[in-house]
């Protein structure tokens, strides 16, 4: 469809846009987002240039900032890989947050109650536990979806609250550290239940896990039989039935794996960063992950990059406050960039042309 625009210009749909053009569009989008946010900063009487440099400096401009961006990236990217798998099959798993908490729950169980195990047994055990707990949590909305076509969007979302309060119950109740002055925290994990980190950063070895999962997912979707079934089922359930693929089984398998990967993210967070379970372990990773998955068009490799970007924005965001910018400006800044990046997508599909006279 062509839309009339000013004068002799009009917007046309295109299907072929070169890599160079896409690069240019993305670059322009970011610059526009920066300028747009900068205008508001200017209106409040602050220096936008200082803000730009601050956010970049603090997220990727220093070794510490870069390391912290990677720390944020791990849970974001893992959850995002998780939801992206379900999204491929048009299963709107909004429950990554809850699956993340349940994964942390599974991992914590072993850290607390089998604390004498050696690290080489403990960590794999925690990994498997988080995988299973996250997966089973996602299976709860998957079963009614598979058998009775109950909308999974709402059920998976609501289960997030259940998971959150289940953890709350544990840390206020049975799992509370008896020596913790009654604060709602579990005991600190033993060293054997702690994922090692690089040097004196907070980046844990879970980042290898992330890379392996991302690459595996890429090959799974693109080349494997099961990945193909997921893509077909996601495009047309009727076609999947027609081709003799079991939709029900695939819903269950995909949702399980989707939740399991978010569960691993939960394990990586409690075991790699927090070293204990507490009421709040995620500032909304599971929700941001949805945005990342969509921004990256569900491509596993793009998800890594988009998570890095979002991680950088989160890190830079708090840093902005320490430099005296209000927290609302931080949100506005992040929103503005995302808005323009998403708007820029349009220009990948449409182009502005001068009408022939």
């Amino acid at each position: 469809m062509n839309l009339k625009l000013l004068g002799n210009w009009e917007i046309k749909k295109t299907n072929s846009s070169s890599a160079l053009k896409k690069f240019g569009i993305s670059l322009t989008s970011i610059v526009l987002g920066l300028i747009f946010a900068g205008l508001f900063v200017l209106l409040t009487g602050k220096d936008p240039l200082k803000l730009y440099s601050e956010i970049l400096q603090s997220s990727v401009g220093s070794a510490y900032g870069l390391s912290e961006t990677l720390v944020e990236m791990i849970p974001l990217a893992l959850c995002s890989l998780g939801v992206s798998l379900a999204f491929r099959m048009q299963l709107w798993n909004i429950g990554a947050e809850g699956q993340f908490y349940m994964g942390a729950f599974g991992a914590t169980y072993f850290a607390l109650f089998f604390s004498n195990l050696p690290i080489l047994v403990m960590l794999p055990l925690m990994l498997v536990a988080s995988f299973i707990c996250g997966g089973l949590w996602a299976l709860i909305p998957a079963i009614p979806k598979a058998y009775w076509n109950v909308n999974e969007t709402i059920s998976s979302l609501l289960l997030n609250y259940v998971a959150y309060f289940w953890i709350a119950y544990l840390v206020y109740g049975p799992w509370k550290d008896p020596k913790g002055n009654n604060f709602p925290l579990t005991k600190q994990f033993p060293d054997s239940a702690t994922i090692p980190v690089f040097g004196n950063t907070r980046i844990s070895y879970a980042i290898f896990l992330l890379l392996i999962i991302a690459i595996a997912m890429f090959f799974l979707i693109k080349y494997s039989k099961w990945g193909y079934e997921i893509r077909v089922s996601g495009s047309s359930r009727k076609a999947a039935d027609y081709a003799g693929m079991s939709y029900v089984k695939n819903v269950l398998k995909v949702m399980f794996l989707s939740g399991a990967i978010s569960g691993i993210a939960g394990m990586a967070e409690v075991s790699g960063v927090l070293h204990r379970l507490q009421q709040t372990i995620s500032p909304g990773y599971g929700y941001t992950a949805i945005l990342i998955a969509l921004l990256a068009r569900l491509n596993p490799i793009s998800i890594l990059l988009a998570s890095f970007l979002m991680g950088g924005l989160l890190v830079g965001g708090f840093s902005l406050q320490t430099s005296g910018f209000p927290s609302s400006m931080v949100s506005m800044f992040q929103g503005s960039i995302l808005f323009f990046v998403l708007a820029g997508e349009i220009f990948n599909n449409y182009r502005l042309v001068r009408k022939k006279a």
Binding site: K4, K225, V232, Y242
Partner: protein, 501 residues
């Protein structure tokens, strides 16, 4: 009255209209004839302001005009009835008409609108009750509502896109009477169609498009079917395909007293017993919705039987699902090729893997092999497409069907189920599919052909089953039956001497 000069419209990879010129006089019915993908719809979308041409001009009453939106076209008195009606089902006729009125007052007078509807319907023989709800109306009546809407908007040029595709013969006749009255009143009608006989009977002039180009405009009274067909397809078409029976004596499929439920949970197949033999084309006739689709699904393994048994090549397969039946050698060309037979978001070679992807061992698909197979089939079946890497939805209807058939036939099946395989295809593609199916029977494959076109069934099949209300009314031999006999059975009369294998 309207003249389109050298219209060019380009889509990525496709030149949909290549310098097409076309004109309509007031008081005439002008047909736009062409195969699917010839550029008819594009040209009319340009005329109704939906697309802007990349080149060429439109003149209305001799004045150069530009439309920047469909609204502009409406203001010039150009309106279109689309194949899919744009009506709000729970609303009444008058309310639907009201929705399209420009400058509707905040406080409107529905009575007045109803009056106007009655006035228009009397003038042109479009009998309709303005107070009826849309969902209560037949397809033909809904079409009338669309036409009335345009008339009340002041349309002087009406464009109808395949208007008779959804109508019964009686309804189609009534429609043409209406159109005749309208042109007598000075209005113009443009008819988009690929049905030659109707066009020949009911129009004044015919413009034929092919591959985005205008082949020529002829006066209807000076032309004939042969000439038009040649213009449309670019070559001669033999009228009837010669059919010899290739039936052998090996039973491929047999259904014994099969009953099955429909999607709504009601019994849709009742005690069906049929056998299909090697090399046989078994036709199934019936009014749409009398169990034919359920029959196809049941044979294909997409629908489990409630009672009875199914056996394939002598072995019972009542309980086996779709996957098993694919392995047994049952190919299926479903009615709904765009969402069932193919995944239109995926590209051509990904679609070709839809059933064969399980074949090789291991967890991964050998895409290189799939790709080379696809290239071979595209050659063999003459599928035209810009690139095998483009989503299938970018292909034209005929080529999509060819792609689907290529996959289903290439898997070397023993039985091919084909449901309405020619529906919506143009002459060239229809002819191609017809030959292909007959060729398969020559090769000894059994074909279960479900069709609504009696001509096809009579000319292609060895036997015809007539279905009504989920039951078999009778089995007839094409050479010994008549359209009347089949018609009666389709309406629910049993063939008295029902006794066949």
């Amino acid at each position: 009255m309207i003249e389109m000069r050298k219209i060019i419209k380009e889509f990525p990879g496709i030149l949909a209209n290549d310098q097409v010129s076309f004109n309509v006089n007031s008081g005439e019915i002008h047909a736009l004839l062409g195969e699917n993908g010839a550029g008819k719809s594009t040209l009319m979308s340009v005329l109704t302001g939906l697309y802007r041409p990349d080149g060429g001009d439109i003149y209305i009453e001799g004045k150069k005009t530009e439309f920047s939106s469909p609204k502009d076209a409406v203001n010039y008195g150009i309106g279109m009835v689309h194949q899919h009606f744009k009506l709000v089902q729970p609303f009444t006729v008058a309310e639907n008409v009201m929705l399209s009125i420009k400058d509707l007052k905040q406080i409107y007078n529905l009575k007045e609108i109803e009056q106007q509807i009655i006035k228009q319907s009397e003038a042109f023989g479009l009998s309709i009750d303005p107070k009826a709800k849309i969902w209560q109306l037949s397809v033909g009546e809904q079409q009338r509502v669309e036409i009335i809407k345009l008339l009340l908007l002041g349309a002087r040029v009406l464009i109808l896109d395949e208007p008779t595709a959804v109508l019964t013969p009686q309804e189609a006749n009534a429609l043409y009477e209406t159109l005749l009255k309208m042109v007598k009143n000075g209005k113009s009608v443009i008819l988009i169609s690929h049905k030659m006989n109707e066009v020949l009977e009911n129009t004044d002039r015919i413009t034929v498009l092919r591959d985005g180009k205008s082949i020529g405009t002829v006066h209807t009274k000076n032309t004939n079917e042969k000439e038009l067909a040649k213009m449309m397809v670019g070559r001669n078409i033999s009228d009837v395909v010669e059919k010899k029976s290739h039936r052998k004596n090996d039973k491929v499929l047999s259904l014994n007293n099969v009953s099955a439920l429909g999607n709504n949970g009601l019994l849709k197949l009742k005690n069906i017993s049929i056998d299909i033999y090697d090399g046989e084309i078994l036709g199934v006739a019936g009014v749409d919705g009398n169990g034919q689709k359920e029959l196809a699904d049941t044979v294909a393994g997409l629908r489990m039987v409630k009672q009875g048994s199914v056996s394939f090549c002598g072995k019972d397969c009542t309980k086996s699902g779709r996957k098993k039946r694919i392995d047994l050698g049952i190919s299926y060309v479903p009615e709904d090729r765009m969402t069932t037979g193919l995944v239109t978001d995926l590209n051509a070679y990904e679609n070709m893997a839809l059933k064969s992807y399980r074949k090789n061992h291991g967890a991964f698909i050998r895409w290189d092999k799939v790709r080379s197979d696809t290239d071979r089939l595209i050659q063999k079946f003459d599928v035209r497409l810009a690139s095998t890497a483009n989503p299938v939805k970018m292909m034209s209807g005929g080529n999509i069907q060819k792609l689907l058939l290529a996959r289903e036939i290439d898997s070397d099946p023993k039985l091919i189920i084909a449901v309405y395989p020619m529906r919506g295809l143009d002459i060239g593609a229809t002819d191609y599919v017809r030959r292909l199916l007959i060729e398969q029977s020559e090769k000894g494959k059994a074909v279960l052909l479900i069709s609504e076109d009696l001509e096809d069934l009579l000319s292609m099949t060895d036997r015809i089953i007539v279905m009504h209300g989920g039951e078999i009314m009778g089995v007839v031999n094409p050479s010994e039956t008549s359209r009347e006999e089949i018609g009666l059975m389709m309406a629910g009369k049993r063939k008295v001497d029902l006794h066949e294998s």
